[in-house]
């Protein structure tokens, strides 16, 4: 294994990252992924299992893992944590009732060792619906200013998976943030 082949390998790795898309059920995870992929978003049913899509963005290959959000299968999320570069947390901004749930699950995730160091992108989804909370309100509700998030790279973007608004901004941040780290961490 000479330097030249190492370089080739490193370069290939630098261009590839693994994203995990999580959130409560009905937050719009699969819709976002399908929107990214340019697929039809009118016929989406609850994800009973998981989807993997590979997308290219700004020269990076993003392996997106979208796992269902139902309560019953949340305990299996842990199964997918391995080697995750970025976590996309999708919030249904209109679902005020379950915001507490949402915070609890996110906090729980943040404690997972295997996600230490992963960039966190929060999509405040469903901004197209009346009564949707704003970014600031969600930051507040999820306690993102808290101690737990101090050492983590995170960002929040208000978006709508249906219109597509805000999605690109979020993914741009994600790829930038990961690429700035991945240099040193393989």
């Amino acid at each position: 294994m000479g330097l030249l082949s190492i370089i080739r390998k490193v370069k290939a790795k630098e261009k590839e990252c693994r994203l995990l898309i999580l959130g409560l059920d009905n937050a719009g995870k699969t819709t976002i992924l399908k929107k990214f992929n340019g697929e039809d978003i009118n016929t989406i049913s609850p994800t009973l299992g998981f989807n993997i899509k590979t997308l290219e963005h700004r020269g990076y290959l993003l392996n997106c893992w979208d796992v269902g959000g139902q309560q019953t299968i949340r305990s299996y999320w842990r199964n997918y944590f391995e080697a995750t570069d970025g976590l996309v947390w999708v919030v249904d901004s209109a679902d005020r009732v379950r915001l507490g749930d949402c915070k609890r699950e996110l906090d729980c995730l943040m404690e997972q060792e295997k996600l230490a160091g992963a960039s966190l992108m929060i999509f405040a989804n469903k901004q197209d619906l009346a009564g949707a909370l704003s970014e600031e309100e969600i930051v507040e509700a999820l306690g993102l200013k808290g101690e737990q998030f101090k050492t983590r790279h995170w960002s929040i973007v208000a978006c709508s998976a249906v219109t597509g608004e805000g999605l690109l901004v979020g993914m741009d941040w994600m790829t930038d943030d990961i690429s700035s780290r991945i240099f040193m961490l393989s």
């Binding site: 080739r8 929107k35 299992g49 998981f50 842990r78 943030d177 040193m184 393989s186």
Partner: protein, 1316 residues
């Protein structure tokens, strides 16, 4: 979301690939398509990521049909769902085709990428599992299917549901014992001991199932128990034999290395993917055993690698993941945040000040783990070291600062002279890994950098060669990693040292990969650290790029000078060459280093003269051969470059020669290279014109003389080069020539050796030496020159013998010597030359006079006929090649000397078509068209060519000085070259072709007969360098030139040797070209040319009578021509059409002439090869036999042919008789006219067929019908009259044989008795 707009792809076979997959049909043989698909995939093994954009469609085209097949198998119930059943139905072949392609894809792209692309729906789980269950684990043909299915299962097992909910068995029946999970685990476990790749995917599958959150309690624990037990027994058995009774269940598996590997592999995966805290409890239980296992040492590389992996994972299990606060961070690199901060913070680099790290508990076991990984760094296999390096990186990333620093310290201890090269390599990898992760803190750099610089030149001698290329390469990796890890400020203090290290490696490493790696590392550094830090980085990189450095000579001699042009690097470059590379173990490198040093002199004269030279002189008698050889080489090149700037050291320098000889360093090992080096030194001293006293001059001459006669050609050559320079520079002569003392010391001494010595090495060397004498010693008057030329001409003759033996090298060197003389003295003119060191300053040297020129020409002409052979093969070809070169030189000189040469006028004899009025068709190739033009038109063409030559006018204006070159010489020279161009040796053809090309096109020699045709025939395509060595192209060209009368015979002579040769490619191309020519000639009715070819061949047979080298190939050529009816039909035509004007030649009919010749050749010949060739020709001659309507002359001829054939049928060699019979049979089948009487035809055939022709010739008692009797019978049937003498001849001989036998018998008995 913007869709991907560019559809460009690097997967060029995409359409074909998907098409082939889509074309699969059930029940058909798809093997060919599969082969093709796999071939396509294999092309991407090097850069598999190119496939990425298409992986999804490829996989879905494979997975979707497989999935539906598996489902239909499942629902039809044809596959069993019971593990205990013996596998019955493995599924349709098409399914396996798909699955095998999936496996192949994962081989190319890696299973981690491929497995993601399987379906992962819960409904697939059970069918896929059942399908796997119904595979026969022993069926080796289908292992790829099992591999793919296990991989698939590993993905399906990730479904985020309780598996029980999709387990159809658990709800429908009471068979709770065999639920889904259990089955998966059981089947995967069973594949863990597979000897092939299936083991890997089983481990993947197993770990995938067992790390499910719902498995932790029950199944995982069970599996860990099992694994522990197996490993315990595995190591226990080696420790003591007491544990046997404990677990009978697994004891039979303990010897299975494959199972151990499978388990270790699975464990590594489990520890990697599993929940760290849950696995912590298992660590203690395993650690002891795996350490034992590692220490007992797996002999398998794979097992050691897996163990290192497992150690790494165990280590990371001890420590939680965290971003260690002490890590070195090279500022923030996020574009976004950097933009926001608006440049005020620059690159904020922190060796994080957060020193108050929270107390982290480091379990003591971790030390064992790190220990194991450090051992892994020293492993003898690269993969293991690499894995260990990565492992150390990952663990150190989690350690508190002090512990991490300990690890760095431990790694650095590996850079130790007592450690193996493997350890150095591993340590380099580990350092690079740590640096990349920011774990090698800048505070460590002062110690690390010098070590890296040492490692970048690591080269340890092992006997005749050395090891260390991989260490140097890995050191480049460290430099590369540093470039990426540290900020310019941090790197600044070390930049110079590192930059020099990398540059020197890039310029002077022996291995191409290391030079390139160093260049890549340098590039990364310049790019990331800036041109500020790396001085002149960009200029250097531009000159020393990846590709130019690929050429070692260029790197040493050119790019090094460029780099040394920057003062910053100059002394390092010189220093490295003079201290390291000049004494390198590889002689090539020493030579290159000396040349490099010589080139560098101009940049730093004083340093070279005062310091370097002095140092090297002190080393010339070093006990180490490499050092003294390198030193002498270095001195030589530096002196040559310094010239007069050597200052006062010249006595010291010439003393080197004396010292080396006094120390007897020519003797023993390495003596040869020392001789060459000393000769080079003498040459360089002379070139540098160091002032030397006469005594020293003579001393040096003695040294050189001694080396000239060395049997190694290399030494002899460098000695001659030394001699040439020495004599040219020193040894002044008077205007009348050298003193008689000098003359006898040099020329006469050498001449005597060449003429009389019987040591071939001496004659070879001094023949060259005479050629290399300067004009002042060689040509001070006509007489001297004549003596020299005559001597060399005499000794170049093929009959000249050294001692008792002929010696091709001596002849070749004589020819070379002649060439040199021609170059030195020139033809014709008298030259006034100035000699340095002579007071009288001038001396007139004579050139070659017309008779001498002719003499050399004649000698060279005869040298071109040197076809001598010895056990090394065609050694004459060396002489011929030398003569070819000599001819070129002499021709050019001669032409130059006789200025007023006109273009050869079209020789009336070469006019081709006096009587071919009917041949005026328009013909395709110009050469042929020209050939058939009217004479006066041709003359006009020639005239136009001549007048276009600008030199024409000049020549006419000059009066007639002596002539050195004329038309006849020109024709002979060109003919000889053309002949060589038509011959069979590739290298000779290549040389001849190039020389001819130069003479005709570049130097435009005059007096070329039929220049127009010749250049037309040999015209190469524009801008194309002709490869004359390739028979394929050359022969088609040379055949065209064959039509030119003056060169015809020469070319045919060469061509026949090629056509009838043994080298397949040559035979094929030449005979192909010849037959094409025959066809063209027939089409154009060029009978005259065909007839002439026949006559030329006949003449060749006459000229080279009994010379097998020519006769056999000529016969083969004649055979080929006869087979293609080239000679025969022509003859008929000329015989009939030209009745009116029958010339002498035409009376001489081909058939009868040839018959006479072959009869003569066959007489007394013992060569089977030759006789077979004769038989072939003879049988060809029978093809024209036609008794009816033949005149008497014909009849007599036919009779003679057949009689001779029958004589051969009674040949003493059985093989010959058999061959003749076979050929005769074919002949009478093809031409029934051979048999006079039709009614006897069938009988004749059966006699030929039914006789064992290779049986006994004479009738013996046991054998009823001897060959001779049958032969005579056949002769009667065919109406051939054999003389009585021929019929009975052998009776006499039989008596003789018997006598011989008796003699032999008595001899045998004598031997036997003596033996007792």
């Amino acid at each position: 979301m913007a869709s991907i707009s560019s559809t460009s792809t690097f997967f060029i076979e995409r359409e074909e690939f998907l098409g082939l997959i889509g074309g699969f049909k059930e029940g058909e043989d798809n093997e060919k398509s599969v082969e093709r698909l796999k071939t396509i995939l294999d092309r991407y093994l090097e850069s598999p990521t190119l496939l990425d954009p298409h992986l999804e469609e490829i996989m879905s085209s494979l997975v979707t049909p497989s999935s539906s097949m598996i489902h239909s198998l499942y629902s039809s119930g044809t596959i069993s769902d019971d593990l205990s059943n013996t596998p019955t139905n493995e599924g349709p072949p098409l399914l396996h085709t798909y699955l095998s392609l999936i496996s192949h894809l994962s081989k190319v792209r890696g299973y981690k990428t491929i497995k993601k692309l399987f379906t992962h729906e819960a409904v697939d789980l059970e069918p896929t599992l059942m399908c796997l269950l119904s595979q026969d684990p022993q069926n080796h043909a289908l292992w790829e299917s099992r591999y793919a299915l296990l991989l698939w299962l590993s993905m399906l097992a990730l479904v985020p549901f309780d598996i029980c909910t999709i387990d159809s068995t658990s709800e429908s029946s009471t068979r709770t014992t065999s639920n889904l999970v259990e089955t998966i685990i059981k089947i995967s476990k069973s594949y863990l001991s597979d000897p092939g790749p299936v083991r890997e995917s089983a481990a993947v599958c197993l770990s995938s199932v067992l790390t499910r959150p719902d498995m932790e309690e029950g199944y995982l624990q069970d599996f860990m128990e099992y694994a522990k037990e197996v490993l315990m027994i595995r190591v226990g058995i080696k420790k003591n034999d007491g544990d046997d009774g404990k677990s009978n269940t697994v004891s039979h598996l303990t010897d299975n290395t494959f199972l151990t590997m499978g388990l270790v592999h699975t464990l590594a995966h489990l520890f990697k993917y599993g929940h760290r805290e849950k696995f912590l409890i298992y660590v203690d239980a395993f650690l002891e055993q795996i350490i034992l296992l590692a220490e007992n040492g797996g002999s398998q590389t794979m097992l050691r690698k897996l163990l290192v992996k497992l150690f790494q994972r165990v280590g990371t299990t001890f420590m939680p993941v965290r971003i260690v606060p002490w890590r070195y961070q090279r500022g923030r690199r996020s574009l976004l945040t950097n933009m926001e901060s608006k440049g005020e913070g620059k690159e904020e680099l922190t060796e994080s000040e957060v020193t108050e790290e929270p107390d982290i508990y480091v379990p003591p076991e971790l030390e064992d783990v790190v220990d194991q990984l450090l051992t892994g760094l020293r492993d003898r296999d690269t993969v293991v070291r690499w894995s260990a390096a990565k492992g150390l990186g990952r663990i150190t990333e989690r350690l508190p600062r002090e512990c991490a620093d300990d690890v760095v310290g431990a790694i650095m201890e590996l850079f130790n002279d007592n450690e193996t090269d493997s350890a150095w390599h591993g340590a380099n990898l580990a350092l690079a890994e740590l640096a990349r992760r920011g774990l090698l803190l800048p505070s460590r750099l002062p110690k690390v950098v010098p070590i890296i610089v040492r490692a970048i030149h690591y080269d340890v001698r092992r006997g005749q060669n050395s090891v260390g290329a991989h260490v140097r390469d890995a050191a480049c990796y460290v430099c590369w990693a540093f470039a990426r890890a540290y900020s310019p400020e941090v790197m600044k203090p070390y930049v110079e040292e590192l930059a020099k290290g990398m540059l020197l490696a890039a310029l002077f490493d022996r291995e191409i990969n290391c030079r390139r790696a160093a260049s890549a590392a340098f590039q990364e550094n310049v790019g990331r650290q800036g041109n500020e830090n790396f001085k002149h980085g960009i200029e250097i990189l531009t000159a020393a790029d990846y590709f130019t450095l690929g050429n070692r000579v260029k790197a040493f001699t050119e790019i090094s000078c460029f780099v040394a042009g920057f003062e910053k690097y100059r002394r390092s470059v010189i220093g490295h060459l003079k201290e390291v590379k000049l004494f390198h173990w590889d002689v090539e490198i020493r030579l290159l280093a000396s040349q490099g040093l010589g080139n560098l002199v101009a940049l730093d004269k004083n340093y070279m003269a005062d310091v370097v030279l002095h140092e090297l002189i002190s080393k010339v008698c070093d006990p180490d051969l490499l050092v003294r050889h390198g030193a002498v080489l270095g001195i030589a090149e530096i002196v040559k470059a310094l010239k007069s700037n050597v200052s006062s050291k010249h006595t010291e320098i010439t003393n080197v020669v004396v010292e080396v000889e006094k120390a007897r360093l020519y003797r023993g090992k390495g003596g040869e290279i020392m001789r060459s080096a000393i000769c080079r030194l003498i040459e360089c001293v002379s070139i540098a014109q160091l002032p030397l006293p006469v005594k020293t001059q003579v001393r040096l001459l003695d040294s050189v003389d001694d080396c000239i006669k060395h049997p190694l050609e290399e030494i002899s050559l460098s000695a001659v080069a030394g001699l040439r320079a020495l004599l040219k520079q020193y040894f002044p002569v008077a205007s009348t020539g050298p003193s008689s003392r000098l003359h006898s010391r040099v020329f006469q001494k050498y001449a005597k050796v060449v003429e009389e010595e019987d040591n071939a090495a001496a004659t070879r060397g001094f023949a060259l030496a005479i050629g290399c004498l300067p004009a002042k010693l060689l040509a001070f008057n006509d007489e001297a020159l004549e003596t020299a030329v005559n001597l060399l001409c005499k000794c170049a003759d093929i009959n000249f013998k050294v001692g008792e033996e002929p010696d091709a090298e001596t002849r070749r060197n004589c020819v070379k010597g002649l060439t040199e003389i021609v170059k030195t003295v020139g033809v014709g003119s008298t030259k006034i030359q100035t000699f340095p060191g002579t007071d009288k300053a001038t001396l007139t040297s004579v050139g070659l006079s017309p008779p001498l020129t002719t003499k050399i020409f004649t000698t060279l002409f005869s040298c071109m006929e040197d076809y001598s052979m010895d056990k090394r093969g065609d050694v004459g070809s060396w002489v011929r090649c030398a003569a070819l070169n000599a001819l070129e030189t002499l021709t050019l000189e001669a032409v130059d000397a006789s200025k007023n040469l006109k273009e050869a006028s079209p020789d009336p004899t070469s006019a081709t078509n006096k009587d071919d009025e009917d041949e005026n068709e328009i013909l395709p190739p110009l050469a042929e068209r020209m050939q058939l033009l009217d004479e006066d038109i041709q003359a006009k063409v020639l005239a136009s060519v001549q007048s276009s030559s600008p030199m024409n006018e000049e020549w006419r204006s000059v009066d007639t000085p002596p002539q050195y070159f004329d038309v006849q010489t020109s024709i002979t020279v060109l003919g000889l070259i053309l002949k060589q161009l038509a011959e069979k040796l590739d290298n000779v053809r290549d040389l001849a072709g190039n020389i001819l090309h130069r003479l005709l096109n570049e130097n435009k020699i005059p007096l070329v007969a039929d220049r127009v045709f010749l250049t037309e025939a040999l015209k190469t395509k524009a801008n194309e360098t002709m490869n004359w060595a390739s028979p394929h192209t050359t022969f088609t060209m040379i055949i065209k030139a064959m039509n030119i009368d003056v060169y015809h015979e020469a070319i045919v002579e060469g061509l026949a040797v090629s056509v009838g040769g043994l080298t397949e490619s040559v035979v094929k191309s030449s005979s192909g070209a010849l037959i094409d020519w025959v066809k063209t000639m027939k089409k154009l009715k060029g009978w005259r040319h065909l007839a002439r070819l026949g006559r030329t061949l006949v003449n060749l047979m006459r000229k080279f009578e009994k010379d097998e080298r020519i006769v056999v190939p000529v016969l083969k050529t004649v055979h080929l021509l006869l087979q293609n009816e080239a000679l025969r039909s022509e003859e008929r035509r000329t015989a009939k059409e030209n009745k009116t004007e029958e010339t002498e030649e035409e009376k001489d009919r081909f058939g009868p002439t040839m018959l006479k010749l072959v009869k003569a050749e066959a007489h007394g010949s013992k060569s089977y090869k030759k006789i077979v060739a004769i038989v072939d020709v003879l049988i060809d001659l029978t093809a024209e036999i036609k008794w009816s309507g033949a005149d008497d002359e014909d009849k007599a001829y036919f009779d003679e042919v057949l009689t001779f054939a029958f004589a051969l049928l009674g040949h003493p060699f059985p093989k010959v008789r058999k061959y003749v019979a076979e050929q005769l049979y074919v002949a009478i089948l093809e031409n029934e006219g051979v048999v006079k009487d039709d009614s006897k035809y069938d009988n004749a055939c059966s006699v030929i067929l039914e006789t064992a022709w290779d049986g006994e010739l004479e009738q013996t008692e046991e054998q009823e019908v001897a060959v001779r009797v049958r032969r005579n019978e056949l002769a009667d049937l065919m109406g051939v009259e054999l003389s009585e003498k021929a019929r009975a001849k052998k009776v006499v001989k039989k008596g003789k044989e018997k006598e011989k036998k008796d003699e032999l018998a008595s001899y045998m008995s004598l031997v036997k008795e003596a033996g007792r």
